[in-house]
Symmetry: C2
Subunit: 309 residues, 2 copies
């Protein structure tokens, strides 16, 4: 059998990158010949974590069928968020914490999803179930992913399991969660010298909702004006993207990680579904969403429901 490749979603965030690394390590201990790869370059937050724990970034791939016929997915399942030729390979296993949509296989497989805040929380449980020790560098990366996905436990996606596993990982990784975590999150908010197109692509995912194709980008900041100061450039780029990629709606969620609120900027159709989903009125295409920090739990289900009516 050729080497198995494991990877997280496109536009990889810290969980997508590090869950591929931690899951590949686990599978190697279980006897698989496997390599963690990435569907895009790592962002600054992830690079901070990789540098801190002295781990190389995974190799970036555009396609996989040219080098393997078997893959494992982490931190995603929806095919449009996966590698372009996903339909040409067999998915052996999935570890994920998202809704399941637009995913199918011809054969039975391992699928492990739990409604927790971070894929690495589930992977940590798999290490325990298989009785395999987590090395210090891997533990540090797994902790980084939990901090990233839960915004230091402030996101409504965060569960008691995420917190207790993060505490265990912090002991192995020998870091103070709050100190390390805030430094890592801040590293991800360095937006200087990023163009509007780059900002919109940092952490963006596409979602089929009813008969609509919705693009939702999220940017973490310590001051929303770091992003919204170039609102007109962002809007022009969102309109370009809607046209070029056939998105019906493009929504940018700018999340302040210090006060745990978000401002959304939305363009496309049907725009009234956005207002209905969040019970807001857009002004100048914008609205404040108090207490919203989670795309998965506070944006996607609400918008799906509004568009399905």
């Amino acid at each position: 059998m050729s080497k198995v490749l494991v990877f997280g979603h496109k536009n990889p965030d810290t969980d997508a990158i590090t869950s591929a690394i931690s899951f590949a390590y686990l599978q190697k201990q279980l006897g698989f010949e496997i390599e963690a790869v990435a569907l895009g370059e790592v962002g600054e937050e992830t690079q901070y974590a990789l540098d801190y724990f002295k781990v190389d970034a995974p190799r970036v791939v555009e396609t996989v069928a040219n080098e393997t016929d078997k893959v494992m997915l982490v931190d995603h399942n929806e095919f449009q968020q996966s590698v372009n030729d996903i339909a040409d390979v067999e998915v052996l296993s999935v570890v994920d914490h998202h809704r399941i949509t637009n995913f199918e296989t011809a054969n039975p497989l391992y699928y492990r999803a739990e409604p927790v805040g971070c894929t690495n929380t589930i992977i940590a449980k798999l290490f325990k179930e298989k009785d395999i020790t987590i090395p210090k560098d891997i533990a540090g990366l797994m902790l980084s992913a939990i901090v990233s996905d839960t915004l230091l436990f402030k996101s409504p996606t965060c569960t008691d399991e995420d917190i207790s596993i993060a505490k265990e990982l912090a002991v192995i990784a020998d870091v103070d969660i709050d100190t390390y975590g805030l430094e890592m999150l801040k590293a991800g908010t360095n937006l200087s010298d990023k163009s509007a197109a780059e900002l919109l692509d940092m952490d963006a995912k596409s979602f089929p909702m009813a008969d609509k194709n919705v693009r939702i980008a999220q940017i973490n900041v310590v001051d929303v004006n770091d992003v919204l100061s170039i609102q007109s450039e962002l809007e022009q780029e969102m309109l370009n993207e809607n046209q070029a990629k056939n998105y019906d709606l493009f929504i940018l969620v700018v999340t302040n990680i210090l006060d745990s609120d978000s401002v959304i900027l939305a363009l496309g159709n049907p725009i009234n579904a956005v207002e209905e989903a969040f019970n807001i009125s857009l002004e100048n295409n914008r609205a404040l969403l108090k207490g919203v920090v989670s795309r998965k739990k506070q944006v996607v289900p609400q918008l799906t429901e509004a568009l399905t009516k």
Copy 2:
């Protein structure tokens, strides 16, 4: 929260019925208010197991949204195999051992699939992970499902885990696997006084494959002539069903549980895909498939591939 309902697939076999019972028991111990229900009457094999271990058959339901908004699925995920109003309720969790297709949720959920022979093998692992003791009657039903799904460990779907867990369950249930298992399997092959329509409906599932809608029924026998003696009535009924339910192909798999071969009877279009899938020539609409006993592993993937070309 209203009571959660848990159920297996339509046309329930022994695993569909008993995995609902065993998973409901497990969830009750974990604090859920939950009831196992069924999407159809139990067959004779399942009734044998229920009688032996003195457990009542689950209540049969046609719809669920009229009494709950939250469900758990066992032994299936494909919506066309589930309750008719599945799209109107939230799926909290799935435990399954089949391919994933035509399944989607708006929210993250628990999903536990493993490529083992029987859903109850996975549920037995969940009991262990949660450190909950399996009572004798539940163990007997779980063992019955493993025997049923693996045809007493002869199916290629059977894994080492199925065998070792079946042995543990047999100790708890206090039965000899071979003696009890063969009696139970034989109870399921009592086809006397069943009409052609009833035979075709005993264990039938619908599968979307490429752009085709394929119906695959399977009947276990100790002599294939018990079924094939009424071939013309079966063919007439299969043609009626294809027309009435818009199936492109109807395939009946008659499996001899003693010699582990199957005879298939196939009608519909494209019929050459059936011949290509199994590398056979149909004569009188029939062919012998040597060593084929598993619809999931030896019929569905092969046919999916032939239809996808």
